[in-house]
């Protein structure tokens, strides 16, 4: 492979690329070389500058310094259109689709074929042709908002193939896919590289790098830490390059005696904001000292599950008990007083108020009672002292308690929410995607806190899209698919393949053995 690649002229050469944002140096003197026919992984922690670097290549950001050459010739990529014309296209992490428009309209958007009047039938025909060739099936005439996330990703890739790009950049493409869908995506990508196209895979998942890529560039703090052939390296080595220190993949997970029943849901139904069923008869129990993990592809009712328990969503049928209190369709305050702490997925919207200070955000749950207030008036001295205490014990890096939280980094924002929720008196902790978007260090901190909570005898509902996280932390795992629990089983008995099948809605019940067998027969 190595000799083959070196003989060809590089497709892309980025040299000395730097990009500054106010207060952040996102890329610093980065060199990157891409060859035709390779899947090149761009590996790094969150905030390492991977997406910024690729946004420069896609023409969305303008580099402050550095040059870009395409097939040996210098190019100016000052707009996405310029990048397309050269042959570079990017699938962004947040999909760039116009929801009310159809697939065909989205694909043809921005193209200039010299004709005023749209010929959507011709577009649809070509989409189907490409779909068959690359195994990217999707109905060209459906509006995008009706498509699943996986289908939307296919549309994004089709948009690029339709434009005959030779370099496809995919930003964290598997984050929204089941393991099986991710495998299919891998096949599609290999088909492309077999035809001489190059693929850049932006990721922070080491498994993916090892499985899909030919070469890896590791970015750390905006600089290139190393460039290696994937076959010449190991996960541990890459992790070390990525973080800059040794990473422990195992966390201490002690035996904890489970205690009394804390959370219990019985046949809970709820509608989402579209008025469609979000939860369809969910029943589950969590005891003291137990972590119940909720697995599932995002958008299968996880959000609604957290919301019905915390009083943020109406239950149309069924009952929810926290300890001895029934919280079904009660206001959030009832849930809080019954002992519910909540780490929401939407940190800036639901978890914190961006324009309020660290201190204000920290006291948001305990301001009703002494010592922070006498019930009517706030005691600012007590609040400042309380904020300082929490900032210290949770190591929140903020200039002062008066700093607005919107100025904090993602990791520190999550620490503010953790500090508030864990310090409040509670028996149940609901943690929705608690480590999403956090770097390795902050992720480790979050997971340690969750295990400490378990040790302290709290009941924990952990919603996550990282199967590794669920498998390491949980005592039991429930798979949620289209608002139904497909099965609940001990984490020790689960494996990623079975979980993936259930996440795709393949089976109901917890007959894991028969499930695996039937899968093998297929």
């Amino acid at each position: 492979m190595e000799h083959q690649l070196r003989r060809e002229t590089p497709l892309v050469e980025m040299q000395g690329v730097s990009k500054r944002f106010p207060g952040v140096l996102a890329n610093q003197n980065v060199d990157l070389v891409l060859f035709p026919g390779e899947i090149h992984a761009l590996l790094g922690e969150n905030g390492a500058g991977k997406s910024t670097l690729m946004n420069i290549l896609a023409g969305l950001y303008h580099p402050d310094e550095g040059t870009i050459r395409w097939r040996g010739k210098g190019v100016e990529l000052d707009s996405p259109r310029a990048a397309f014309e050269v042959g570079i296209g990017m699938v962004h992490q947040h999909f760039m689709l116009v929801q009310p428009l159809t697939v065909a309209e989205n694909v043809t958007l921005g193209l200039n074929d010299g004709r005023m009047i749209l010929d959507l039938e011709a577009v649809a025909e070509r989409i189907q042709l490409l779909g068959r060739r690359y195994k990217l099936r999707v109905d060209p005439n459906r509006p995008v908002w009706q498509l699943s996330v996986g289908e939307q990703q296919r549309v994004e890739i089709l948009k690029l193939l339709y434009r005959d790009v030779e370099l496809l950049i995919l930003d964290e493409p598997t984050a929204v896919l089941t393991p099986q869908e991710a495998e299919e995506l891998g096949e599609t990508l290999r088909q492309m590289t077999a035809e001489g196209k190059a693929v850049v895979l932006i990721t922070h998942k080491l498994d993916e790098v090892m499985r899909f890529s030919d070469r890896v560039t590791v970015l750390r703090d905006g600089r290139v830490a190393s460039v290696v052939e994937t076959s010449q390296t190991t996960k541990a080595e890459l992790a070390h390059e990525m973080v800059g220190r040794e990473v422990l993949f195992r966390l201490e997970r002690e035996e904890v005696q489970t205690g009394s029943l804390i959370l219990s849901l019985r046949n809970v139904h709820a509608l989402n904001k579209k008025g469609l069923p979000a939860l369809q008869g969910v029943s589950l129990d969590i005891r003291r000292g137990e972590i119940l993990g909720i697995a599932g592809v995002a958008g299968n009712g996880q959000q609604s599950l957290a919301e019905v328990i915390t009083g943020l969503r109406t239950v149309s049928e069924g009952q929810i008990w926290v300890g001895a209190t029934e919280v079904t369709n009660q206001p959030p305050l009832t849930a809080i007083e019954a002992g519910v702490s909540y780490i929401p997925a939407d940190r800036m919207g639901t978890g914190a108020v961006g324009t309020l200070s660290v201190a204000d955000n920290l006291m948001m749950k305990s301001y009703r009672r002494p010592p922070l207030s006498n019930g009517q008036l706030l005691s600012f001295d007590a609040i400042r002292g309380y904020a300082r205490y929490l900032m210290e014990s949770f190591r929140i890096a903020a200039p002062s308690p008066e700093t607005p939280v919107r100025l904090l980094s993602g990791g520190n924002l999550q620490k503010v929410i953790l500090a508030r929720e864990l310090d409040a008196e509670h028996s149940l902790l609901i943690a929705a995607y608690p480590s999403r978007g956090l770097d390795v260090g902050a992720t480790e901190m979050v997971r340690r806190h969750l295990l400490a909570q378990r040790r302290a005898g709290k009941a924990i509902l952990l919603i996550s899209e990282e199967l590794d996280e669920l498998l390491t932390l949980s005592d039991r795992i429930a798979v949620l698919y289209e608002g139904r629990i497909m099965g609940i089983f001990p984490a020790a008995e689960a494996n990623i393949e079975t979980l993936g099948l259930m996440m795709a809605g393949e089976a109901i019940g917890n007959q894991i053995d028969s499930l695996v067998k039937s899968n093998q027969q297929n």
């Binding site: 944002f21 990017m90 760039m96 921005g110 908002w145």
Partner: protein, 319 residues
Amino acid sequence: MDFALLISILAATIRAGTSLLYATIGEIYTERAGVLNLGIEGMMLMGAVTGFATAYHSGNALLGVVVAFMAGAGMGLIHAFLSITLRADQVVSGLALTIFGVGLSSFLGQRLGPGGGALVGLQGPHFSRIPIPGLSELPLIGDPLFNQDLLTYAIYFFVPLATFYLYRTRPGLNLRAIGEAPRAADAMGVNVTRLRYLYTMLGGALAGLGGAHLSLAYTPGWTENITGGRGWIAVALVIFSLWNPARAVLGVLLFGGINAIQFRMQAVGTTIPPQFLNLLPYLLTIIVMIAVTGYEKLSRSVGAPAALGQPYHREERGL
């Protein structure tokens, strides 16, 4: 109700509706591009005053229309600069332009007359009604539809064209995309800023044209506040028509029709207070808004452009 009354109501509805329809379609295009323009009332007034003054001095009503169109576009340009380039609050900018337009048009109305005098009360060239031979003789619809002025005839062609452009052409697709998902459109190579400027100016220009219809055809001459709130009705009509130029016709007929009926019913002497009839269209607009925002499924397909009122900047990093 006899036949003649019905015909006269219909004719009055269409005549009153022309200026509304120009302004409404203009605002639909602007909002489709993601820019909310609440300055329509001011832009119509500027169109009306400049259009009449030009026609008066040049003796050419058509030239008046051209100048009104450009005056509206100029007001649109101010709004575009404030809300797109400077990313100012679009509501504030639009309201400011309405207040500005009311004041400036009134000032110009005092000064643009002969010898720096007032325009009020003067008579100038205007668009008179031209019956179309044959068609205007048709029973019932003949007189209302085919005995109108040039600007009204123009709109018969303009509405289908505007609808076709929006839904069936490539630039129309780009327009729909930049108001829904500017970032996505930008990533596909659509120049969001340039198009938003273009359609904000076009919206202003069409409002100016609507204003010119008032001072050059509907009620020839200049009086202060000649628009009488039509700019605001246009803003309401955009919502009522769910951002679709063809449906705007329906809204205009309804708004204009209720207005026409109300005058005639007063003449006939009825027990329904005219104020009640006057508020009906707004009530309907509110009901449409409730229906659209209440059901996500409906709002996805026919609702407000998702990025309406939001400035776009490429390198701004979202959280």
